[in-house]
């Protein structure tokens, strides 16, 4: 199981998801009405490192974070 966390304005509790790559996480989230609309604007980090490929491998205990559009300053 990997833990999926939603950052900033995404008002959603963390989920536990069965996944061996980010593709599995994407599939799980695309069927979740609460987060579906955020997906196309969110960056993704695995264990606090930003990643850019759905083929990123995951192992049990990994943390996947969704980062919606930012505006610091």
């Amino acid at each position: 199981m990997v833990r999926v966390e939603f950052l900033g304005p995404i008002q959603k509790e963390a989920l536990e998801v069965e996944a061996s790559t980010l593709r599995d996480v994407a599939a799980a989230l695309q069927s979740d009405a609460e987060v579906k609309d955020w997906l196309e604007n969110c960056a993704v980090a695995v264990n606090d490192t930003l990643v850019k490929s759905l083929d990123t491998a995951l192992k049990s205990g990994d943390k996947v974070s969704l980062l919606p559009p930012v505006c610091g300053g």
């Binding site: 900033g8 994407a26 695309q30 196309e40 930012v70 610091g72």
Partner: protein, 146 residues
Amino acid sequence: MLELFDGPVPTEELLVRWYQEEAGSNYGAYIPFIGTIRDEDGISGLSFDIYEPILESWFDAWQEKATKAGAILKMAHSRGDVPLHTSSYVAAVFSPKRKVALKMINDFVEDFKASAPIWKYDLRDGKRLYAADRSTPISGSGILGE
């Protein structure tokens, strides 16, 4: 050095302290950037969420880049609510060379706006409203929606 504060950043103290910290370091140029909350669109202030682990690694990568150019960076940002006419963001570069410093403060602040994992909210009528229209997707966003 990255410093986070609950509420407004102590701008005056930071500007002076950072100057003093590097007074003997032989840098010829010091350029701070100070971001202050403007009174506009009827807001009573702004509020910020920060995801610290990624902010720190983003900042560390910039510090490494600065070091290679012979420069250093300092940055402070607010967490939570920040009233009108107070500051939420102070960043600074120190460099031996003027041109390096002028380019770096520009590039650092622009990348900060595009990449730093900080979320902004308008404070209006007692509500905290995500500033979606002024926010920017981080580079590489959208892979989960493919």
